[in-house]
Symmetry: none
Subunit: 215 residues, 2 copies
């Protein structure tokens, strides 16, 4: 039958609504990514499903964009605030986006031939990813992603050593916050997504990573 026109109103059928949510959320994130790439825009998207699961997309990160947006009225941020503004995404976001990436990667794995073909193309041409055909991005990007994860792990480790020092600064930021936009409390009351995700049902791969989370 192909696509039928639908009225833009709440979908009554729950199952259809869930399917639609999943597809359109993914489509929305894709559109956002294209906007980032095509136009050099910074984008943050947060989506809560009706069930309360959270999904996010961020470039360069949800936090950096959100902070820039929410605190733009305090141009003279103190140092602690500025530093926090440029800190990376949160670990819960890592879990989420990582899992999304794994979904993509896994889908490709199941489709085997695509990845293998990409590998061959890459091997044959030895071009840099930005010079070669788009298809060659595949394996290259998977490898880069793997390296990225590794680097992230290293950063986490290093970060752990910095945290004690930062704690003092956070306190200072909270104390100084009364004069401008307040940053410190932003992170003070949060719960790691991975600790309250909806359950194994939402963990497509058994890495112990949370996928969605409920509130």
């Amino acid at each position: 039958m192909g696509r039928q026109k639908i009225e833009i109103k709440r979908i009554q059928n729950e199952e259809a609504r869930q399917v639609c949510f999943s597809k359109r959320r993914s489509g929305l994130f894709k559109k956002a990514s294209e906007l980032c790439i095509l136009c050099g825009a910074d984008v943050a998207i947060i989506v809560f499903s009706p069930a309360g699961k959270a999904y996010s997309f961020g470039h360069p990160s949800v936090e950096s964009v959100a902070e820039r947006f929410l605190h733009r009225s305090s141009p003279n941020q103190n140092r602690a605030q500025a530093q926090q503004a440029h800190r990376g995404p949160l670990l819960g976001e890592l879990n989420q986006q990582y899992t999304e990436l794994m979904s993509l990667a896994e889908a490709k794995k199941k489709r085997g031939e695509d990845l293998k073909a990409a590998a061959k193309a890459r091997r044959d041409t030895c071009q840099y990813w930005f010079d070669g055909p788009l298809e060659e991005l595949g394996l290259q990007e998977l490898e880069r992603f793997a390296m990225g994860i590794n680097e992230i792990r290293n950063q986490v480790t290093r970060r752990a050593d910095e945290l004690l020092k930062e704690a003092a600064m956070v306190s200072a930021a909270a104390a100084a916050a009364q004069t401008g936009g307040v940053m410190a409390p932003l992170f003070m009351n949060r719960q790691p997504a991975a600790f309250d995700h909806g359950g194994a049902r939402f963990v497509p791969y058994d890495f112990g990573l949370g996928y969605g989370h409920r509130f």
Copy 2:
């Protein structure tokens, strides 16, 4: 001539890039609004143009969704742990991978059947890392990295609990003392977005969700 296909990469022509940004931002907000209506989702989107102009979409509001995402509080969660667990390393690269994988996925769709032959050729001649094909190794690596991250996350959380408990309580107390609450300061010093938007033209759909603003 109608619409031409474009490659998902940065648009070099500045004017074309700006036009594309404007159109696609509007399209993105429309998609978001449909997601809200169709599926009952809550969505917040923040977009910064390369020039630094901010636009946002939110249902029921950017603030409420962002707050829900950023300020999830748990009575069972110790503040230091929450703070620590979310103070992740820089993950901009991960975001980048996400968007690039999106492009990849799309590119792969178009590659077609001839890739299978190429894949077989490669399979016959290429040396694999370990026992598996290169592309599968990548996935295995990802899995290991994922587990490593999970372990580190737990380590970080534990260390956070040990090292930052005191500092977090201090700063939380400081914030509460200044504002009467932890979350209030986040939005206290900024104008509501709806009140400083650039004009009606930034309100794509009239259910009180979207707006843009300049500054």
